[in-house]
Subunit: 155 residues, 2 copies
DNA sequence: TCTTTCTGACTACAGTTGTAAACTAAGAAT
DNA sequence: ATTCTTAGTTTACAACTGTAGTCAGAAAGA
């Protein structure tokens, strides 16, 4: 399984993928019903999404007989991690911490999740810098953007 | 400033916005130079992006005289937080923790950032559930997706 | 003032995304 | 075997994106 990795999944497609990932193996019928209940999609909309995801290599069609089945071709956790990393990649490094704080604060996390994050943070604290610089401009361009406190003009 | 909030910023637009946010107030010329150095954009590409962002309400044109200036109309931290929340909103809640772990692990965070996150986590730990359920399917549809360990078939 | 140079505004255009109708070939029912 | 019903395949289409060329009106220079 030479994992084609890095399939770009769009907003709407995420919904379909979640169903496929969760059920491991689904029929078009199941997907149509789920998406209908969840997003009020017309049958054809689900079919189109399914077809696009297959072309993109995110889903694989399986089975010989006619009502085929569909299984995920990419891993859910990988896709999630990649999507998140990609997002943070184009946001100011100096503000990453704040955004992470906002997300963590608003999400339900299990005891195990929290323990895991705490462990990572403790480890990271050992070598963390006093402050992270803004990386929004190509070097040389524009006066350096941060003020004394490490906080850019508090908006 | 009746903050129109919730302007959807696209991938390419993020780059332009970062420059505007960082410089607080810029001229078209500056932006063109920055984007040229950073993304090899043609002058017109930068102009188009700028114009679209203005129309979207993410940037405001200021000044009376001809070479106008441009200032952000939405706050950077808000936009970042919103984008991150939106992303996590359509991903499996059960796996959020893992993705956050991946992101935290790969990012540079300052001592202050880490301290802040640790504080939030400690607080959260007090009331965190033993496990977070998968929320990928409309209730009722499909067998519940998690196995004993709280981990869906380890992919 | 006349010409050159910016810079702001409009146009272009292919590819993607969100949504969905239409058509066709397999199975299922009669 | 004939017809009905699914399920898979094509086509549609407007809005949005990434990229960029063109043109007209201001500013600046000659």
């Amino acid at each position: 399984m030479l994992d084609e990795q890095h399939v770009a999944i769009t907003d709407s497609e995420w919904e379909l993928m979640r169903a496929v990932w969760t059920l491991h193996r689904v029929s078009t019928r199941q997907l149509i019903d789920i998406m209908q209940k969840e997003r009020h999609w017309a049958d054809s909309t689900t079919k189109t999404m399914l077809r696009r995801l297959i072309k993109k290599g995110a889903i694989t069609q399986v089975g010989e007989t006619r009502p085929y089945d569909y299984v995920p071709a990419v891993k859910e956790q990988d896709s999630m991690d990649t999507a998140a990393q990609d997002l943070f990649d184009h946001m100011c490094a100096m503000r990453t911490g704040n955004t992470l704080a906002a997300v963590i604060e608003s999400r339900d996390l299990s005891q195990a999740d929290i323990a895991k994050l705490q462990k990572i943070l403790n480890e990271k604290a050992k070598t963390a810098p006093e402050m992270v610089a803004c990386n929004c401009l190509p070097q040389g361009m524009g006066a350096d953007c941060m003020t004394e406190g490490g906080e850019r003009n508090g908006q």
